[in-house]
Subunit: 233 residues, 2 copies
């Protein structure tokens, strides 16, 4: 019996790329600045995995995604002709990650899914970021589980094991839902059930993987509405 459905968030539940691009373009208009905003968004996200890898490998102590986002932005701005942005402007841009728009099926799917099961996050974002995002996007989470509770990033074992401990149930009673095969592989290795849905436009033209299920995940669905239907909701 699946008691809880935990969701990867960036890419699986929210369309971070289109949201960030819209925010950056608006920022440019509001501040009379011209830049390659699409390129900045893509370059920024490309720093995401390398930045977390230093923490995953133990090469640096626990550092929140909020801090990593800011460091990456600071590194990228000069190359995009934006090195003169003020402290306040940089803070404003980083805060954009808290206010991402859901995919069209997300809110309806989650609302159906939570009728009989706990729905929660299992994200490399932080508690505050995920809380702000849920309020903004109307994501009806029962519980927010995130990297900063465990002071490690997925796919570190402590994140999956820690989630099962907090939910006080066996891993096989939890299903991870994600658009990323690596995340599901880690979850399965710790005994979770798994559901994959492709989000083939997540990374825009740069997308190079996760177009399809790469293993025999317990469920493979088109979106969260289909997941609800498959689970009988």
């Amino acid at each position: 019996m699946t008691e809880a459905l935990l969701f990867d968030v960036f890419g699986t539940v929210v369309d971070w790329r289109a949201s960030l691009i819209r925010q950056l373009e608006r920022f440019g208009r509001d501040n009379g600045l011209r830049a390659d905003w699409v390129g900045l968004a893509d370059d920024w996200r490309a720093q995401y995995e390398p930045a977390m890898n230093a923490v995953r490998a133990g090469q640096r102590p626990w550092t929140t995604l909020e801090v990593l986002h800011r460091e990456s932005l600071d590194n990228l701005l000069p190359g995009h002709g934006l090195g003169a942005l003020s402290e306040t402007q940089r803070q404003q841009i980083v805060l954009g990650w808290h206010f991402l728009d859901p995919w069209p099926d997300s809110v309806a799917g989650l609302t159906r899914l939570r009728r009989t099961r706990i729905v929660g996050t299992l994200s490399n974002g932080g508690v505050r970021l995920l809380t702000d995002m849920a309020r903004y996007a109307g994501l009806p989470w029962d519980v927010i589980l995130s990297s900063d509770l465990f002071r490690q990033y997925k796919p570190d074992p402590s994140v999956y094991q820690g989630a099962a401990t907090l939910l006080d149930t066996a891993p096989e009673n939890i299903m991870l839902v994600a658009a990323h095969n690596y995340d599901l592989a880690a979850a399965r290795s710790h005994g979770f059930r798994t559901a994959f849905l492709a989000r083939p436009t997540e990374y825009g033209p740069r997308q190079s993987k996760d177009f399809k299920a790469e293993s025999d995940w317990d469920l493979v669905v088109a979106d969260l509405e289909e997941l609800a239907a498959r689970l009988g909701e």
Copy 2:
């Protein structure tokens, strides 16, 4: 600016005593058992603080409230003529703490309060207990913060400081709402704002304290609806 309102839960948001008594009486009827169910509920809760004190003092390692509840129940059952209860029956009784009824003002008050501020728990309960309770009682939490995230019980400093860290804001931007003066005193000592509301029937005839505010808390209100009104919601 108060960005987040964090709530003590047992006694402040839910009426644990009336709920437990109802559950135990129903358990008695369903199982054809007679006992002093009111006395058992009160004796059980009386074990709550002593059981947590051993953890607070570092005399035993981190132990969840779920485990403490079970230990206390096992200790009390023989004295109540219920020493023959089965493992399944004991589990059923302990699970009752996950399904407590709110005070009449709780859901309406929280719903108003969350319009413009984050509302969350800051409870000695655990994540699973609080998540189950929210689903059962319709408590619209944005975020669940609890003892098992910090592996300590209030009023240990790590709980308040840890909550501020996870909410990524200064303590003065957080208000603790509680029916217990000791909790507010600890919160204030860590820089939180404070709101008190009396729940004079929480402990029934055994109630001996917390009939009124014992310090100049930032707000003193009759219930959560009045809190919402005072905060302009």
